[in-house]
């Protein structure tokens, strides 16, 4: 039965690697400026992890094949070099691998989090709530009206709790159910949670960031391709979690300006 196990181990290793090697499952197209570094990092890690996985399964298979049901009286042998080799191999091979991946990966991470948005970035405030996203643009005055939780009134479409009667800044704010952005221009999201934790995940942007109640976060990106992409919630937020989604609509600069005017007119 040892030989059978060895065969099954090899078959499992080969079958597990097959969908990866043949690209049966590919990441959706990257439409961000920072995504290439993430994809590269994922690719390098896949190579190292994949080789470790297949290698270990095959070594296990070879040893199980070779040392099961040996002839009576076959002498026991010890692995040449013993534990020392195992420890040195782990430290040298995995240590370098880990350091290399860790150090290279930080670059990709830094692109997303350790750069500030440009001063001319388009600011959009996102409010996540059970089970929808709302996006607010500051309007011609470039200023957002304040949020008053006690003035939130979903029935009258006052999702953010704005007070246009008393605040000038709130009067020209544009609220949309879709995140409309111009292509190739940096966007800074100001992330606000109305009720519980949510998340902002756009596969094509290679971006994921939680909304934390009580803590407004900033996230910035540049979309490089016109199109409509799904925004989904990845933080379990209650009974309608699976249904919480919106769209990112990347438009040409001209279309975006047109859309903005239409919205302002409403």
């Amino acid at each position: 039965m040892g030989k059978l196990l060895a065969i099954v181990l090899v078959v499992i290793a080969v079958l597990s690697a097959y969908p990866i090697v043949t690209h049966m499952f590919v990441l959706p197209e990257d439409i961000s400026t920072h995504g290439r570094a993430i994809d590269q990092q994922l690719h390098d890690t896949m190579l190292e992890a994949g080789l470790s996985f297949v290698g270990a399964q095959i070594v296990l298979a070879v040893f199980v094949w070779g040392f099961t049901n040996r002839k009576e009286g076959s002498p026991l042998k010890s692995f040449p070099g013993g534990a020392k080799v195992a420890v040195i191999a782990a430290f040298v091979l995995v240590g370098t691998e880990v350091l290399a991946l860790g150090v290279m990966g930080q670059k990709a991470w830094a692109q997303v989090y350790f750069t500030s948005p440009k001063p001319n970035a388009l600011q959009v405030q996102v409010q996540a709530e059970q089970f929808a996203y709302y996006f607010r643009y500051a309007g011609p005055d470039g200023k957002f009206g304040l949020i008053h939780p006690d003035k939130i009134d979903e029935g009258n479409q006052n999702y953010f709790g704005l007070d246009p009667a008393n605040e000038v800044e709130a009067r020209d704010d544009i609220v949309s159910g879709e995140l409309v952005v111009p292509v190739n221009r940096e966007v800074q999201l100001l992330m606000h949670a109305k009720d519980v934790g949510h998340s902002f995940y756009v596969r094509e942007l290679r971006l994921q960031q939680d909304f934390v109640p009580g803590l407004d976060l900033s996230l910035h990106f540049t979309a490089t391709k016109i199109g409509k992409y799904e925004i989904v919630c990845t933080q379990l937020c209650g009974l309608g979690h699976y249904n919480m989604k919106a769209y990112l609509n990347v438009m040409s600069e001209a279309d975006y300006e047109k859309w903005l005017k239409e919205q302002a007119a409403q």
Partner: protein
């Protein structure tokens, strides 16, 4: 002389009467079996929940007739509602992590075998020991009550992230009393685990037989000991976290709830709390918990492999040090669950490196197991098959950790099925392979009867192939961005991939049904199995020096003296190719080389 008196201080009278013998027993062996039985009940419940979830996910309109009897609100007409899916998901995770993966490899086997392997008559504190089991039992009852209240179980997942978990009924179905029961249950569970961990530590340090130096303890005893040290720190943090959660829910405090939240159209009467605080406290427990689940299985597998290979490991000392470093590092990595949580992105770097570093001791362990197989005289039986399967699964689940340890990749893979595949393989399946290996190996000692080998092997093949069929595709689905914790994927880009989800569901149904072979084997062998001898595997450690099953006081009132470490295989002994730990004979190398 002093050692003997310490031991005698802990001797209790032979148990009398049904209650004292089988229910409120002080005997660590009975308590170990009780933990095992509880884990068995929990694992089958958890498995059925996963079946229901998998069926619902791929056939969202499927009618499951019995389900309506079970929950009218959760499955009107037998069709599961989206929120009931989340209830089942929460209960599946909670049952499996706490009541199976903590109880079976650690509390069940540890209780039964740790005292015997170090030559003690019982645990250091038998009454505490009884209390830890019955407290765990109460925790389980409280959790299961959530199924039977009108509100139903909570829907916030096993991590119960605040503020969803902290604000009460405004958060949705199951969040009124269901979530309170969850918090109370886990708080009780923490107390039980703390008692148990203290007991394990005291027993290991104080009650070792003469000659049983720390380095002569079997590797599984080492693993249980290290695990107890981890558990002591981990549960001591989860306990207050649960108390604070309960206070937020019922006493009007705001530890985890900030001001200005409007939930279900109601401005919440809280201010000043932090949702991230809950995440930090939870994962400060939660990551070490992963090692609480896997370390005992590493120990059990090492113990069994040595016996099956008929030769020692390349180095037992290195295995012990590796397990210790894993335990130590496990406290420095909790933030890797929170890379995209909104904590300072700089701290992600600080958590990423220790996480990647854990790979080193884990690789050392794997290489030691693999290298030890070389040149061995490997015996294949159900126990060793599961031990070898463990290595395969540990590697398969471990390599995906490379991805998730890096914040830059986690930004894409976080909360996808890639994560689900990763932790199920490494924490769930690998850990359970250790439990299965332990069961086939120690069942003769625990019951005095052998388990059926053909059924055991059948169980292995179904489980081994099945687990790969279930959890490997999850990684691929994660790569395309398949989000977890969704009840179905009917109207989005996932539609073309639903065939894979169906494949997984069918594999899960078959693999789950295969566990009935194990259950049958367990029950059948308990009553009809071939009688077991004292030492059916020709093993060296102390549990094999006493009758099967052992008498109530383990060594029949005698105090064993230990002369060797437990790795004396492949030698010329009076009984064969091994020398037992309590045998005074000189060890002579077998081959003379």
């Amino acid at each position: 002389m002093q050692e003997a008196s310490v031991q005698e201080a802990h001797v209790h009278a032979p148990p009398q009467g049904f209650l004292r013998k089988y229910v409120f027993s002080l005997d660590h062996k009975v308590i170990g079996k009780q933990y095992y039985a509880l884990a068995l009940a929990a694992v089958f419940t958890g498995m059925i929940l996963s079946w229901l979830m998998r069926i619902h996910m791929v056939w969202p309109n499927a009618k499951i007739p019995l389900l309506e009897l079970f929950s009218k609100n959760g499955a009107p007409g037998g069709v599961m509602t989206p929120e009931y899916y989340l209830s089942l998901l929460t209960m599946h995770g909670t049952l499996m992590v706490f009541f199976v993966l903590t109880n079976a490899p650690f509390a069940a086997f540890g209780n039964y075998f740790l005292p015997i392997q170090i030559g003690a008559e019982d645990m250091a504190f038998p009454r505490f020991n009884m209390m830890s089991f019955w407290t765990t039992f109460v925790a389980w009852v409280v959790l299961m009550l959530a199924f039977f209240i009108p509100d139903g179980p909570p829907i916030a997942g096993w991590t119960e992230y605040a503020p969803l978990s902290a604000v009460g009924k405004d958060a949705g179905p199951g969040m009124e009393w269901g979530a309170s029961l969850w918090g109370i249950s886990i708080a009780i569970f923490c107390v039980a685990s703390l008692l148990g961990a203290l007991n394990f530590i005291a027993t290991t340090l104080d009650l070792r037989a003469k000659g049983m130096t720390l380095m002569r303890m079997p590797l599984c005893t080492w693993a249980w000991f290290i695990t107890s040290c981890i558990a002591l720190l981990a549960f001591a943090v989860l306990f207050p976290a649960c108390i604070l959660l309960i206070l937020d829910r019922h006493a009007g405090t705001s530890f985890f709830i900030p001001g200005g939240l409007v939930i279900s159209d109601r401005l919440q009467p809280h201010s000043g709390g932090s949702p991230l605080l809950w995440q930090h406290l939870f994962w400060f427990f939660g990551h070490p918990e992963v090692y609480i689940a896997i370390l005992p299985s590493m120990g059990i597998v090492s113990h069994i492999l040595v016996n099956s290979m008929r030769k020692p490991l390349l180095s037992a000392r290195v295995v012990i040090y590796s397990m210790m470093s894993i335990g130590f590092l496990s406290y420095m990595v909790w933030g890797h669950h929170m890379f995209v949580s909104g904590m300072n992105p700089l701290s992600s770097l600080a958590f990423s490196f220790p996480t990647l570093t854990i790979t080193i001791p884990a690789t050392v362990l794997t290489l030691i197991w693999l290298g030890s197989l070389y040149g061995s005289n490997l015996q294949i039986n159900s126990a060793s098959l599961f031990a070898l399967g463990f290595i395969s699964m540990f590697v398969a689940g471990g390599v995906s950790g490379f991805f998730l340890a890096q914040p830059s990749i986690d930004i894409y893979l976080h909360a996808t099925y890639f994560v689900v595949g990763h932790f199920h393989l490494v924490m769930g399946v690998a850990s359970l392979f250790g439990v299965f290996a332990g069961t086939y190996f120690w069942f003769p000692k625990m019951t005095g009867r052998m388990m059926s080998e053909p059924l055991g092997k059948l169980h292995f093949w179904i489980t081994f192939v099945g687990a790969y069929c279930i959890f490997m595709p999850f990684h691929y689905l994660g790569l395309i961005g398949n989000v977890r914790r969704y009840q179905s994927f009917v109207d989005d880009f996932m539609a073309p991939y639903m065939g894979w989800h169906k494949f997984v569901t069918i594999a899960a149904l078959i693999t789950g049904a295969g566990q009935l072979v194990f259950l049958y084997n367990l029950i059948y062998s308990r009553f009809r199995g071939k009688p077991a001898t004292e030492n059916p595997w020709n093993a060296t450690s102390l549990e094999w020096s006493i009758p099967s099953p052992p008498p109530w006081n383990n060594f029949g009132g005698k105090h064993p003296i230990v002369y060797h470490d437990p790795y004396q295989y492949g030698v010329k002994g009076s009984k064969g190719d091994f020398v037992m730990q309590d045998s005074p004979e000189q060890v002579v190398a077998a081959s003379g080389d």
